[in-house]
Symmetry: C2
Subunit: 345 residues, 2 copies
């Protein structure tokens, strides 16, 4: 039983809905010339700077399950998913456009919750909401986010610049988001037929937050700038360490060796993995959705990287011919694969 | 029975699919620094120019019906829908990003057809395909397109600059796309239970083309530049003349008077409307999806506008207090409404 007031979208119409959702969202960046309310948004980046643009689609039932995904968190996470791609180019997201495909089953109040999460993340990250599109959907909720940023050309980092002997670095820890998802899925299964379900998350709040409300690692891009480091390559960890490192190897035409005992994994990730008889290393390598940054720097920059304090060096770049491997503590080499890791060599 | 080869998307995987779909799509614009293949696209507009960005969501069952919408045309039309928003700001689209939500029922070959249409429109219009996102969808096909352009700040036109006595101008003719849709819907209904349906479109090919494969009116923006005209306001006709003119009135804080006998309506639109007992004027006012341009210019520019040859003057801007009206040949004033037009005054 829904106690909250429920307003049907049809009562407002498309334009009324857009006005309501975007009211009170005022642009704050100098580069935003025109935001919501015209055919297109207009940006004027600082003279000589290049513009970065990235787009992400999130669909109900594939990227999120509304059974356990609070709409406010979904809005917040969507901004992280979109903005993370701009950070991965060593730039900061400054504008965002949101397309919504909305089924009739959603109320205006539900959409307001979603937008609250979007607006909260935007304010926190200094991002202006500059436009979007709102449409009916005969199926589930669909979101598409377009993130825009700008940066001096010479500071923009691609996936393709890693050089032999470069250090492979990552921010944060891996596998936590995936284990958060596993926990939510377990509770959904267990409580499927319970009338007033009370899921048990005790002790695993960190994992839930990493899955439901991951933060943008803007602090990493800031710290890199502070230490005067321009990475040779960078990618955001959305598909899992193995898959994303292989993307760098492919684009940079290089190999890699990473060391199992250097991969940072949180205590809670280990604990839940044990409870669920899962392998925390598999979660770290293939879980995905960590939205941490994976990057390479020249060996000579080791000291500066260590000074950042929030980054781990997990391995180094090798020649392309040697392939990409995970080295276990007993010295075995395991070839990295985009999905799972299997054969020993 | 499908005679063509059918490759499942799972055989290729997400990255293989993206590689296949975007192969052979090489950027040609100077402003494109990096296209497909990194976390974000990178653009460098000419010094001092502003960047325009617009996003559009198209969902199966709402924006298109795959029963009669050839995928190649859908791809082409999607580019028009997205690019038209940039034209409406008096700029030209130069880059495009495509997000796809793809259900398992679609084959790789079907997606290739869709992309052929996208690539064809991009080549025709000088637009670079610079990125996107491809995801599974548990429901229907979903497309989100983000169009990017650039222009000198002083040439960018918003909805909000129309002044009293300005002339209201439109390109092309109205209502044809809507009647094309009506025709397709009729044939779908009539042939629902027929085994080898042979729809009858004789004589109405123009209407089908306006609905299924509308062209971007880049020629209008080019012609405006040639005549040295910067419109005072502009919008692209996607929701119907009434609704879109009201958007200009709202943003410009003005009223409008347009004249029924000056609204250009194609012969085929009249003919099919008669056959279907529909009102061609309602199609023109409320049909939508024309993707023509509606703009205002100072009265003093009448001569230059006429010289363009491809534009009709259908009325003029009035003070806000007088409201927005359609004037019929017998001199009646009908108040314009976003949906339909009703009361006489």
């Amino acid at each position: 039983m829904e106690k909250k007031r429920r307003t049907e979208i049809a009562e407002l119409g498309e334009f009324g809905l857009i006005d309501l959702l975007t009211s009170g969202v005022e642009p704050t960046n100098d580069s935003t010339l025109r935001a919501v309310g015209d055919d297109a948004a207009v940006m004027l980046p600082p003279a000589g700077e290049a513009v970065l643009c990235s787009t992400d689609l999130l669909t109900e039932g594939v990227d999120f399950d509304l059974t356990y995904f609070p709409l406010k968190h979904l809005g917040y996470k969507a901004v992280t998913v979109a903005g993370s791609d701009i950070l991965a180019m060593n730039a900061r997201p400054s504008q965002l456009m949101v397309s919504l495909g909305v089924s009739a089953k959603m109320s205006v109040e539900a959409l307001q919750e979603l937008y609250e999460g979007i607006a909260f993340a935007c304010r926190e990250q200094g991002i202006d909401l500059v436009g979007g599109d709102t449409k009916a959907s005969v199926t589930g909720l669909t979101l598409n986010l377009t993130a825009i940023g700008h940066a001096p050309k010479e500071r923009i980092v691609s996936r393709g610049g890693a050089q032999q002997n470069d250090l492979i670095c990552i921010s944060g820890n891996l596998g936590a988001a995936y284990m958060g998802l596993r926990l939510l899925e377990r509770e959904k299964r267990v409580l499927a037929d319970v009338e007033n379900p009370e899921p048990k998350f005790g002790g695993y709040e960190y994992l839930l937050e990493k899955y439901l409300k991951p933060r943008l690692r803007r602090d990493i891009v800031d710290a890199l700038a502070e230490e005067g480091i321009v990475p040779t390559s960078m990618i955001d960890l959305s598909d899992g360490l193995a898959s994303d490192l292989l993307q760098i190897c492919k684009a940079s035409k290089c190999g890699a060796r990473i060391y199992l005992d250097r991969i940072p994994i949180a205590k809670q990730t280990y604990a839940l993995a044990e409870e669920l008889h899962a392998d925390p290393v598999v979660a770290a390598l293939n879980g995905g959705e960590d939205h941490e940054l994976l990057f390479t720097v020249p060996l000579a920059m080791q000291e500066q990287v260590m000074k950042m304090g929030c980054v781990d060096v997990i391995g180094h770049i090798t020649p392309e011919s040697t392939g990409a491997y995970l080295v276990t503590p007993d010295g075995s080499d395991i070839r990295l694969r985009a999905q799972g890791f299997a054969e020993k060599e």
